[in-house]
């Protein structure tokens, strides 16, 4: 409930399903009176699509291709600072290995 309250402030409507996710999503879509709904064609299996379609006979399901992935290509400043921090951690790991590497170690471990 707390998560629901907090996400609401961010303009996100958090929904939690209990057992049948397809029926749950279908009901939400019907509740929003949507006639056309896009889905990510590289991620939804045919089985999942069929389940969804079963509950949404009057809704047009439209395949999209890498829609979110294309949006994700451009990083905002917050994402960039996390990536930069991650890069510096990886570099520290290289320095650590470089300072400790010696003949006889195995690829997998010190032993």
């Amino acid at each position: 409930m707390e998560a629901k309250k907090r996400t609401k402030k961010l303009g996100i409507d958090l929904a939690i399903y209990e057992y049948d996710i397809f029926r749950f999503i279908a009901n939400r879509i019907k509740g929003l009176l949507l006639k056309k709904v896009g889905f990510e064609s590289t991620h939804l299996s045919y089985q999942e699509f069929s389940e969804l379609k079963k509950h949404l006979k009057n809704v047009e399901l439209i395949p999209t291709f890498l829609l979110i992935e294309k949006l994700r290509m451009i990083k905002d400043s917050q994402e960039l600072s996390l990536i930069k921090k991650g890069v510096s951690i990886t570099e520290e790991a290289f320095s650590f290995l470089e300072s400790t590497i010696y003949e006889g170690l195995t690829e997998n471990s010190w032993l």
Binding site: L66, E69, K70, R72, M73, I74, K75, D76, E79, L80, L82, I83, K84, K85, G86, V87, I89, T90, E91, E92, A93, F94, F96, L97, E98, T100, I101, Y102, E103, G104, L105, T106, E107, N108, S109, W110
Partner: protein, 184 residues
């Protein structure tokens, strides 16, 4: 070493982005080698490919180490890979076709007669996933845009000998590429 690298990363970040690749000698000639039991030796290449995951965001870098003085044949290959990397890095800026970036490195390696030993794409986007859009390959007609984060990782894999791959991460800016790791 891979276990220790993993432990080190997990002390500072939430997770590794992928299992560390540590490849000694001949093993480095396999682009997607799975770390095994080979021993580090003074006169063999040690190729290390590491990445951390920090608040969900991945990093991915590859470096090659050599414990003694580098023999000439090895230096020659490393210099070709580095030069290929530098040439393509210089081309990075908003608006450039992605395939041109790949072509620049690939043409140089081909010119040196080693094209058939570089068979994967030059790089990829990095973000919530370690490999994401855009793919930096010879077929990608899209253009670079400011704010993209990509890897540039030219390589030369000589079968049954060794492989050299140098991987750096770059932020695309409107007039240049900003290299995110300092080593390059």
């Amino acid at each position: 070493m891979a276990l220790e690298a993993e432990k080190f990363i997990k002390l500072k970040a939430e997770d590794i982005a992928f299992p560390p690749i540590i490849a000694v000698g001949k093993n480095s000639s396999y682009p997607h080698y799975k770390t095994g039991e080979a021993k580090i030796r003074r006169k063999e290449v040690v190729l290390i490919d590491l990445g951390s995951k920090y608040y969900g965001y991945c990093s991915d870098l590859t470096r090659v180490f050599f414990l003694s003085k580098m023999p000439h044949y090895l230096k020659k290959i490393i210099d070709i890979v580095r030069k290929a990397k530098e040439l393509s890095l210089k081309k990075i800026k908003e608006g450039v076709k992605i395939k041109e970036i790949d072509r620049t490195a690939r043409n140089y390696i081909e010119k040196k007669g080693l094209g058939k030993f570089f068979r994967h794409s030059l790089g990829h986007g990095v973000g919530l996933e370690v490999h994401e859009c855009p793919g930096i390959n010879p077929k990608n007609e899209e253009v670079l845009k400011e704010g993209m984060v990509i890897t540039i990782e030219p390589a030369i894999y000589l079968p049954d000998k060794f492989g050299i791959r140098e991987e750096t991460m770059v932020l695309v800016k409107n007039n240049r590429g900003e290299i995110l790791d300092e080593y390059s």
